[in-house]
Amino acid sequence: MKQVNTATHNTARARELLAMMERIRAFEEQAILAAERDKLVLGAIHPSIGQEACAAGVMQALNTDDILLSTHRGHGHTLAKGADALAMMRELLGREGGCCGGKGGSMHIADFGVGMLGANGVVGANITIGAGAAHGIKLMGDNRIVVDVFGDGAINRGPFLEGINWASVFELPVMFVCEDNQYSATTKTKSVTAGQGAAARAKSLGLKATVIDGNNVEAVANAADEIAARLRAGGPPEMLHLITYRRTGHTSFDPATYRPEDESAREEKLNDPIARQRTLLAGMGVSEDALDTIHQTAQTEMIAVLAKAAATPFPDDNTAFLDVQDTGSPAVEAF
């Protein structure tokens, strides 16, 4: 794994990275409460608690008009790409004013206004789509880049091979990010994966692959910056393999009894990306008070976001038949 030279750290960026991770954490803590305590989130949500450094570090390398394709575990990516937290929470609650008008929910969250072209309920499906978004960008002669995030489990699906091969032969500006939390739902990914995993597979297809401690947000941000710069300069697609850990169950309802008892606790204690960044910032001379303020600000924001989302009405019934298709629209004729 890559070593980061802390001396070169820029305190302002380090604070921003912490603030974004705190916002993601607070958003998901509220979303879990909304699901479990309030019964307001009716469908499944897949929290990324403990993985916030991947989202914050990668997305800070992007401009608003760069493109992101995300996964079922995509709240953090979406927020870090610039989506509005209230619109996201409304979407999780299936409310009017949700990013997708309440039609998508957590697993289909999208905000095209900030280049976020969708989470995906089908593991691995976003890999070919992301390659294609880059293909379209290249055809139109734009200088934007695409980040395509997927889990360690997705590398065992066909689109991983097809999408990466595609991006490579068409020389497309894609940063493939494997957010490796070591689990495929309830199964340890290593136990069902041949060979050395995402980076090795990408290398075999001719991609440069960088393996990074995904809970070190500075390292993630630096690696993403470097890859983004190469892509913007016309470089070929690359793989960024981030090693992290999923601290919660697969969904908010999953007690995760299938894993070693102390595994999650140990990760929380020793490898929490937020705690690590706080330590780094403290070492740079930022006071505990200032760090607590960052934490508290995020908490206050997201508590208000949930309250506001919960007070929002459900979408109008007749939107159920809108935005299916224009030709042969069910709003005109559904039978």
């Binding site: 493109i67 394709l69 949700g98 990013c99 997708c100 008008g101 309440g102 039609k103 998508g104 289909h108 999208a110 905000d111 095209f112 206004g113 072209l117 969708g118 995906n120 309920g121 089908v122 499906a125 890999i127 070919t128 789509i129 992301g130 390659a131 294609g132 978004a133 880059a134 293909h135 379209g136 960008i137 055809l139 139109m140 066909g158 689109p159 097809e162 999408g163 091969n165 595609w166 032969v169 068409f170 809108l322 935005d323 299916v324 298709q325 224009d326 030709t327 042969g328 069910p330 004729e333």
Partner: protein, 326 residues
């Protein structure tokens, strides 16, 4: 009017649309060599390899990548080579392309034409002969088109490329060389049937190459002084119920014929709709012709066992009139 074959007609439509709209591009295997049936002959020379892109044999990636490119503002024409191979890209079509606009609350569009050549064609056997149009009709979000003539393959291809919805465009492999007059100024509205023969005695509803057989049957019946109305639906979603119902109200008799498997086929939808909405107008038994729910064989005599023929359509039409074949 220009004389064109079915394959030339859609190629010309694609060519003209590529000139008219710089965001239109073609993507699929072996397009530089015209693809399997010559649908793209000369287009790569004319537009270059970026706009007529040769791809790896990766149907899921062709479909998925074209979708990604559509979401950022291009209008891809996706070639699946044989409709059978499109099944390798089912998730991309059914779960992604068809659903994105809705799931994302109207934020995205997928203006794509997805070409999947269908049908029985010269001993192609079970994995190169299928007609699965009814599957796609079952998927909300998709438009489903089955042109049967050079004119329609020209006009409907243009309409499909202009359409902002994903259009599953099913050309029939057996009629690539069919010739016909094409009026380039003729515009088609997707969802509007073509009445290819007018008549008062019996309504024949069909699409794709079987519609051509119905036209031949109508000509045969005319020699027996029976006037069949032939409705070529041309698109199955949306489908032109109004024209079918009005015709059945006039004739009181209905035959629906298609090459695909009868069970669960779109013919069942047509028959059910007529029974529900014009049942009172029926003056004879309904007939629905489709392939047995079996597989397409290689040997020509075995292949013929699942083929819907002109004789079968004629016999069915006569039965609705209480007559037997001469």
């Amino acid at each position: 009017m220009v004389k064109m074959t079915y394959v030339e007609a859609s190629r010309e439509a694609v060519r003209e649309m590529m000139h008219a709209d710089k965001t239109v591009w073609c993507v699929g295997e072996d397009l530089g060599r015209g693809s399997v049936f010559g649908q793209y002959l000369g287009l790569q020379e004319e537009f270059g390899p970026d706009r007529v892109a040769d791809t790896p044999i990766s149907e899921a990636a062709i479909m998925g990548a074209a979708f990604g490119a559509a979401m950022v503002g291009t209008r891809p024409i996706v070639e699946m080579r044989f409709s059978d191979f499109a099944l390798c890209a089912t998730d991309e079509l059914v779960n992604q392309i068809a659903k994105a606009r809705f799931m994302f609350g109207g934020q995205s569009r997928a203006p794509m034409v997805i070409r999947k050549p269908i049908g029985l064609w010269r001993s192609s056997a079970a994995q190169h002969s299928q007609s699965l149009e009814s599957w796609y009709v079952h998927i909300p979000g998709l438009v489903v088109v089955c042109p049967a003539t050079p004119q329609d393959n020209y006009s409907m291809m243009k309409a499909a490329i202009k359409c902002d919805d994903p259009v599953v465009y099913l050309e029939h492999k057996n009629i690539w060389q069919m010739e016909g007059e094409v009026d380039k100024s003729l515009e088609v509205t997707l969802g509007k049937a073509a009445v290819r023969r007018s008549g008062d005695d019996v309504t024949l509803v069909s699409w794709s190459d079987t519609a051509n057989k119905c036209v031949a049957v109508a000509d045969r019946l005319a020699t027996q002084n029976i006037h069949a109305e032939v409705i070529d639906l041309r698109s199955l979603w949306p489908w032109d119920k109004g024209t079918v119902l009005a015709s059945v109200r006039k004739t009181g008799r209905l035959v629906v014929a298609h090459e695909s498997v009868a069970v669960g086929g779109f013919g069942a939808e047509v028959v059910a709709t007529v029974a529900e909405q014009a049942g009172d107008a029926l003056r004879g038994p309904l007939r629905r012709l489709g392939a047995p729910r079996s597989l397409v064989a290689y040997a020509p005599n075995l292949e013929d066992q699942v083929r819907i023929t002109e004789d079968m359509i004629e016999k069915a039409a006569l039965e609705t009139l209480g007559k037997s074949a001469p």
